[in-house]
Symmetry: C2
Subunit: 428 residues, 2 copies
Amino acid sequence: MTTAEIIAVGSELLLGGRVDTNSLFLSESLAEHGIEVRFKSVVGDDVEDIGVAVTNAARRVNLVLITGGLGPTVDDVTREAVARVTGKPVRLRPLALESIKLRLQSAGRVISENQRRQAFLPSGAVLLQNAAGIAPGFAVKWKHCWIVCLPGVSHEARRMCAESLLPILRREGLLSPAIEIRTIHTFGLLEGEIDNRLRGIIPAASPFRLGLLASPLGVSVSLTRSEKLEKRRAGKRTPTKSDASLDSLINDVIARLGQHVFSIDGRTMEEVVGRHFRDGGFTIALAESCTGGLIAHRLTQVAGSSAYVDRGVVCYDNRAKIELLGVPGSLLKRYGAVSAQVAKAMAQGIRMRSRVDVGLSVTGIAGPGGGTAHKPVGRVYVGLATATESYTKKFQFHGERETIKLRSSQAALDMLRRWLCHASLDEA
Amino acid sequence: MTTAEIIAVGSELLLGGRVDTNSLFLSESLAEHGIEVRFKSVVGDDVEDIGVAVTNAARRVNLVLITGGLGPTVDDVTREAVARVTGKPVRLRPLALESIKLRLQSAGRVISENQRRQAFLPSGAVLLQNAAGIAPGFAVKWKHCWIVCLPGVSHEARRMCAESLLPILRREGLLSPAIEIRTIHTFGLLEGEIDNRLRGIIPAASPFRLGLLASPLGVSVSLTRSEKLEKRRAGKRTPTKSDASLDSLINDVIARLGQHVFSIDGRTMEEVVGRHFRDGGFTIALAESCTGGLIAHRLTQVAGSSAYVDRGVVCYDNRAKIELLGVPGSLLKRYGAVSAQVAKAMAQGIRMRSRVDVGLSVTGIAGPGGGTAHKPVGRVYVGLATATESYTKKFQFHGERETIKLRSSQAALDMLRRWLCHASLDEA
């Protein structure tokens, strides 16, 4: 049973401006191979502090994964720290030097004295080639523990993990069946409402864990099953045949949450919506006011979206709503730009002018200014128009400008999703 | 001299889907009060694992800040873990119970048996009231160390940090002058080019540290000065009068990096651009193809942007480019949608049709599909048009679809910034 600790090295990760994200894909990748990450730590570019972190980690897990601190500058001391902890002094590794030179050569450059430092690895370490960058990684066995160092640059670490690290762990017999994690994404229910609906769904002493996580994009329900977590947590208890499978548990959750579930396979709302558009052969055009282009941006994050996203307009200004969407000036005057009537006219206008199957609109007050007693900040109307029907829906969101934009975009995409899969636009 | 470690508790933080972000504002807040965060760790909801993390932390720092694991469920074991480590068993704290009851009452609810658990704190701990939520925090002195527990919910922890934690640390004499951190944001130079330009700018044995961090939005140069870091790093060396001030060092950096510097006060590119627009009284309209609305979204993230963002159009489709921007069909046919000629026509078209001061356009291939040998994925043209002039610029970006969109948006906004502050659009 392999347990791991991930150590991110970098003083900038301690100063508040930036968070370590490499550990996200590393954790996922390890979980897929049955390795439980029990601790994560972050430590500055300090040879002693790194040493303390590595020593502590090696005491409690048998795989220590270090990212960062492998660069060419004097700040990059991960190599030296590992050498000190393990008592394996760094030495020039000719093969590493050769790779660095070749890599630089292909970019028309010559190796500098600093860059040579990157070829000094703890003696006896396994060299991990860096196919995507300069700094080589390495793995060294110490006592009962593998200590593995990867670059801090994300795409380099990702590739090295797949191409070099996992094969070594496989050879060493450290991999095992995946820790099963499934996440169910929902929109439109509060965390407390989901908690109520799911009450009692997991029997006591079950090998499953349920977690709820709220964000502006909705509430995610995660279900985890791990034989190992289970053994460690439940002591002598052995799983019995009566344990429900993860699949049947997920079906139970879906039955209780209904149409609020928008994804059970990790896909984002824009990916789910995109799939429906592709499958149905529909096209869409957008008319955004308070979301300011965010919906268009999200839809076009999906590869292949040019097949169904015809166009979008961002009409902050009333004049733009009139010129680009044909919203009647009288409507704007009578009901105000933030109203169900204008949302409907925007959706109809963009649909007709662009000759697509569905028009989607958002108008609202993202704040912090612009609110009134009658129409406070966070008031948002979403409109959806097809050749035969139009719908509008009113929302009152809370939070800061960015949050209100994000929630509004998710509400609009969710309305689109419900229309695309013929669900009720309101309830479930 | 106070050093701190932040421990985030939560199994979901180890599984890969989610990263601890509370430590970001906690680190910043502590740095502002002269406390150096030397380690961060993440640990699951396991009483033993939390105990190990706390024990290790208390050995190497004198302020241990724990977030999470204070909720009502059986998974929430931070209280118990701290009780075990410190040998101060949990006891019902009547004042904490009273606050929880009041808080629930105001929401029309009655305390449950589980929620009562939250009122059990290690004996002798200082109660930290939670003005924004249910779970109280606490602080306990153990050996030479303060162990402080805050809720995992971000806005609760943030408020408790300001209102309860900092006053305690002040009373205990643990605060001191801020660690000075300044970040200079640049765009348009590679990390290696900046490294070259800044070579030797910081003398050996200086109290300053320089860090470079590359992202799709550019390279950030961070400068840190800490009397403490300095003392710890330099041993007996005492700062002399000849040490340059941080301000003069920043001026040196700016002189070497020129117009590539877009922000020295933490503002984002869209905030910098927005300030120029407001100050100059200009208006803008956008014509986006491959960025798909991202530029409009970014500009409208800034509060008050409705004063200068007139409109934006996302024209993925050639038909939309013709209809919404008046790009001649012949131009599209002759040069293709991804060309300098079309970028220019798009910028001119949106400017004229919306009657604004400046039109900005982007056309390119975000990938993964759509590339050719002649126009590979990542080929992007930016266009800028005013009443009297037009400019276009060609880029070749690398990376995935999201990265290419992000880089393209930053390149376009940087062109806008340079135009707004009368800088050269190309060099610096």
